[in-house]
């Protein structure tokens, strides 16, 4: 265990002086910042967040009702840490890594307090297969063995801050996470499990520039506003605009190897939905249940607010741990606004000077520290790994000028702007194509060129131009009606409608349409482009717009979304469009 321990000093028992909701004050306590302490007779878990004279101010992760001044407080001398090792995958934790399934066994269906439970099972045995041998030089972060955890291979590493050494003994066989599997020649012993303080980023060798997109199977994201593996994105939107559905779609279909999903201050039923659904959904790449690559953190809105504050750190630390094994990890945080509100609530209990809209002055710093933990990296073990972070933001009243949205947009590279107007007309995903952006387009350009088609980047720009043009034309249409537009522009309106309805709209609940491969995205966009080209040339040849709009074969295009083996159908539509337009041209 490599966490700084101050146990050498005589631990002094402190005493509670004041209780104000989740924030309590102790006196006579020997403490350092962010030490974990046990509060009151029931030993509720808390963390030191301020030291002032003889007063130690503690945020408590459990409900403090019934606690009185005079009750004892003791310091564990440890920082708030998570247990990292085999057993993380498929787990669901609260904000301080207590496994919720274990809590149900220990305290029933409702969250009670004063119960602790380790993050990993300390009894379960895992088959450990060594990857080093005696005499090998190892150092912090070295991969020393592996465990087949689910369909995912869990690499067992030395803790990042372990000093270099030479392997003396390495074991093979079945071990619990606490049993020693590796001994170095200076007799340091290492089990499979390590602990890491959540507020400290895990070290890496080097941060790299992201050049590969995180493919999500969502057309508007992959096609128009991609996020890179190791990148950061924000999804702000008013309630009901589809933040959670989008986050869940990303958790389901993004081509990361590991997914960490943090339900931070959100609805209980949403986590249940994930828990019920994920074991039955297949990873499109591996065919294995999605749950096997997933770690869930659920600190719902009515669970203690201090644990909500900790939940994003718990989540990102677990994500970094898998990254260090060389995996691509994507982390969804729903919602970072609830995290910010937890900070605000604690800060006001601390009677700190409030900043903008009551949020603490350090809000911007905390947000950027969090997003900075994303990245494509060279790991200590020498491999490549990444953490992509996608944060939902819930701005009050849907107003993007509020502090959490604004401070987030300063940091993240991708902005998916949700729009209530779109969701009201059931245009899903209701991401506004005019306001959203991705700053990764340049760095990902080559990937699309090579992996999709040399035409793709051009097609993308073309689609964006048409949508932009449509927005301008719509302003005119609002005044004079669409029939008053010049003929060519009437075609633009129709093509833009097709891009919106065929390409951008995607049905998350349709078995086929829920995930759309990049290849299919390209084929669909190419078909719309074909219609566009045919329509303009027909118009140039003198075919009137109402005849162009009446072309029947194009009406089949929306059906493509729902067809798995779409290629023959799409080819036929292309042929029919060609034929219909030919007939129109020769008739005119």
């Amino acid at each position: 265990m490599e966490v700084k321990s101050k146990k050498s000093k005589e631990p002094k028992q402190g005493m509670l002086k004041r209780i104000s909701g989740p924030v309590v004050t102790a006196v006579n306590l020997d403490a350092h910042m962010y030490d974990v302490v046990k509060v009151g007779k029931e030993e509720l878990m808390g963390e030191v967040i301020k030291i002032q004279g003889d007063n130690t101010i503690i945020q408590v992760y459990e409900d403090t009702s019934g606690i009185r001044p005079g009750e004892p407080v003791s310091n564990t001398g440890l920082s708030l840490s998570v247990e990292l090792g085999p057993g993380l995958l498929t787990s669901i934790y609260d904000g301080i890594q207590r496994p919720l399934a274990v809590l149900v066994d220990k305290m029933g269906d409702f969250i009670q307090r004063g119960v602790s439970a380790p993050g990993l099972s300390h009894d379960k045995k895992w088959a450990f297969k060594p990857l080093v041998k005696a005499g090998d030089k190892v150092q912090g972060g070295s991969i020393i063995g592996e465990v087949q955890e689910t369909n995912i291979v869990h690499k067992v590493m030395l803790p990042p801050n372990a000093k270099p050494g030479t392997v003396k003994t390495i074991k093979t066989g079945e071990f619990t996470v606490e049993e020693t599997v590796c001994i170095l020649d200076d007799n340091r012993e290492f089990p499979m499990m390590q602990r890491w303080p959540v507020r400290v980023p895990r070290p890496v060798k080097e941060k790299l520039n992201p050049v590969i997109p995180l493919i999500t199977g969502q057309r508007i994201l992959d096609g128009l506003f991609p996020i890179a593996k190791g990148g950061t994105a924000a999804i702000p939107g008013p309630f009901g605009s589809g933040k959670t559905v989008t986050q869940q779609q990303l958790a389901k279909w993004s081509d990361a190897e590991i997914v960490v999903y943090i339900g931070c201050g959100e609805r209980g039923n949403e986590m249940t939905e994930v828990l019920t659904e994920f074991p039955h959904l297949e990873d499109p790449k591996t065919g294995k249940p999605l749950m096997e690559r997933t770690v869930l953190i659920a600190n719902t809105s009515n669970m203690p607010v201090a644990a909500r504050e900790a939940s994003v750190y718990t989540g990102i630390t677990i994500a970094e741990y898998f990254r260090d094994m060389g995996y691509d990890v994507s982390l969804m945080a729903d919602s970072t606004s609830r995290w910010a509100e937890a900070m605000r609530e604690i800060s006001s209990r601390l009677e700190e000077m409030p900043g903008e809209e009551g949020y603490p002055a350090y809000l911007a710093a905390r947000l950027s520290e969090f997003y900075e933990r994303a990245g494509l990296v060279k790991t200590l073990a020498g491999g490549d790994g990444s953490v992509s972070v996608i944060g939902a933001v819930s701005p009050p009243g849907g107003d993007f000028s509020e502090p959490v949205t604004q401070n987030t947009l300063r940091i993240v590279k991708v902005f998916w702007a949700l729009d209530a107007k779109l969701s009201q007309r059931r245009h899903f995903p209701s991401i506004n194509w005019l306001n959203s952006y991705s700053l990764y387009l340049d760095t990902l350009h080559d990937w699309y060129d090579k992996e999709v088609s040399p035409e793709w980047n051009k097609l993308r720009s073309w689609a964006m131009e048409v949508l932009q043009k449509e927005a301008e034309l719509q302003e005119i249409v609002q005044l004079v009606g669409s029939d008053a537009l010049p003929e060519a522009e009437q075609i633009t309106i129709e093509v833009a409608r097709m891009i919106r309805e065929v390409f951008l709209q995607q049905n998350a609940y349709d078995a086929v349409d829920t995930f759309c491969s990049m290849k299919k995205q390209y084929d669909m966009m190419k078909a719309i482009r074909l219609y566009s080209d045919l329509a303009y040339s027909a118009q140039a040849a003198g075919v009137p717009p109402n005849q162009i709009n009446a072309v029947k074969s194009k009406n089949e295009l929306p059906q493509i979304k729902f067809i798995k083996d779409y290629k023959p159908v799409l080819d036929k539509i292309a042929k029919d469009m060609d034929a219909e337009f030919n007939a129109l041209r020769s008739a005119s």
């Binding site: 002086k17 009185r68 828990l275 107003d399 609002q478």
Partner: protein, 441 residues
């Protein structure tokens, strides 16, 4: 129990008491006035120097001479099966002239959070008989779905219609309604009580009434009493409980306060009962971005929005489906729940109504003649939708099939190639123009 006479300061609903023994955070406090009246409050902040007490009633009459007794426990309420059929005050005291509640249990009113792992996913369709809910914003058992309304709109009538008609198709189990009114007028209260009595709903209801002239601070505990009762009925007695909270619009509530109320809904694995919540909010100035509806919308699983425009057009129930939403809808509809075409019909109705509704704005400027033929059919669709799908009687209890068939009838007025949200198979099977041909095959 020790009585302190050390009140040092009274400000708003807060009392500051000095020189006490160690007092627990969250303790229930009795304040004894000179005439013997007892008021209640709760400890908000406690230290060895000063205890801050929030009083649940008006502080009128409290002074330096008032006594303060700390009860040593958090606020608990008696619960029992006998509560069914009873009318209680917003503070939980019987006001129907009946006897005190004989407790089977005493429960903490703050309630504990349901462990997300212990929850079962809600997926049972509740048929309310109202098309705009069943068809396009489906309610499922265990959901919390607020009604966003405005002053003078018939939200209470809608709530009563739902309470009366709500059923799970082929469902068994005991039903109960817990109804909590906060700050409503005597007249509104009578309206509810008469309807409950007329329809016989009172027998299976527990009613909490905090009237407009009752202490406002009591409203903080009324919803908690209601939900504690609901949890007892649902999770200990195994009943399916529908909780109606009206009106949830009162100031001072922050996100966590509201969450701790609304999250007390759902289903627990291995338990028979369920809690479905219908909070009602009147949005000040019909403003959906007002903090209370805004925070509510972020916590609840959708919202039913009552529209003043539709109400003015004389349409009942004036539910505007466009800003309305049921987040759990997809879990409770489709094959095995309602009908396979439900989702796609609903999406198509939304899209077409939204488009028609937009065109109304345009017509106001350029006139109907400037519209293309396609646009005209959408414009007409919007009117048809309001008059045939939205509009229905206060006693009209539509089946889900009936609702979906009305939907198809309306969609059949549009050119079939405009139905882009629906796949061809469904169109062949359900579209009035093709379904008979399909059957004949």
């Amino acid at each position: 129990m020790k009585e302190y006479r050390t009140i040092n300061k009274i400000a708003g609903p807060l009392l500051f008491v000095e020189k006490t023994e160690p007092i627990a955070y969250g303790e229930l406090v009795n304040i004894i006035l000179f005439d013997g009246t007892v008021k209640r409050g709760q400890v908000l902040d406690t230290s060895d120097e000063l205890v801050v007490v929030q009083v649940f009633e008006t502080t009128a009459g409290i002074g330096r001479d008032s006594g303060v007794r700390f009860t040593g426990e958090t606020i608990k309420m008696p619960v029992g099966r006998e509560m069914l059929g009873r009318i209680l005050s917003g503070g939980g005291k019987p006001i129907d002239g009946g006897p005190e509640i004989v407790p089977e249990k005493r429960l903490d009113i703050t309630g504990a959070a349901i462990n997300p792992y212990a929850r079962a996913s809600p997926n049972e369709f509740i048929q309310t008989g109202i098309s705009t809910i069943d068809g396009t914003n489906t309610l499922v058992r265990g959901q919390k779905l607020p009604i966003f309304s405005g002053a003078g709109l018939p939200h209470n009538t809608i709530a009563l219609q739902i309470a009366r008609q709500a059923k799970v198709l082929g469902g068994k189990g005991e039903f109960a309604v817990v109804f909590a009114a906060m700050g409503i007028t005597k007249e509104e209260a009578n309206y509810f009580m008469q309807d409950f009595e007329r329809t016989g709903a009172l027998e299976r209801a527990v009613v909490f009434l905090n009237l407009a002239d009752d202490p406002a601070v009591e409203r903080i505990i009324t919803p908690r009493l209601a939900l504690t009762t609901a949890e007892y009925l649902a999770f200990e007695l195994g009943m399916h409980v529908l909780v109606i909270l009206t009106d949830m619009t009162y100031p001072g509530y922050m996100y966590t306060d509201l969450a701790c109320i609304y999250e007390r809904a759902g289903i627990i694995k291995g338990k028979k009962g369920s809690i479905t919540q219908f909070p009602i909010l009147t949005m000040p100035g019909d403003d959906i971005t007002h903090p209370i509806p805004d925070l509510t919308g972020y916590i609840t699983e959708g919202q039913i929005v009552v529209s003043r425009d539709l109400h003015r057009k004389g349409i009942y129930p004036p539910i505007n489906v466009l800003p309305s939403l049921s987040r759990l809808m997809n879990l409770g509809i489709g094959k095995g729940h309602t009908r396979e075409d439900h989702k796609k019909v609903s999406d198509q109705l939304y899209a077409a109504y939204a488009e028609g509704n937009d065109l109304r704005g345009l017509v106001a400027i350029v006139g109907k003649d400037a519209l293309s033929e396609r646009d005209r059919t959408f414009l007409e669709f919007a009117d048809l939708f309001e008059n045939r799908f939205v509009r229905q009687g206060y006693n009209e209890d539509r089946t889900i099939e009936g609702t979906l068939d009305i939907g198809w009838d309306l969609l059949s007025t549009l050119p079939v190639e405009q139905l882009v949200r629906i796949d061809r198979d469904m169109i062949n099977k359900y579209h009035p123009k093709f379904r008979n041909a399909e059957k004949a095959k």
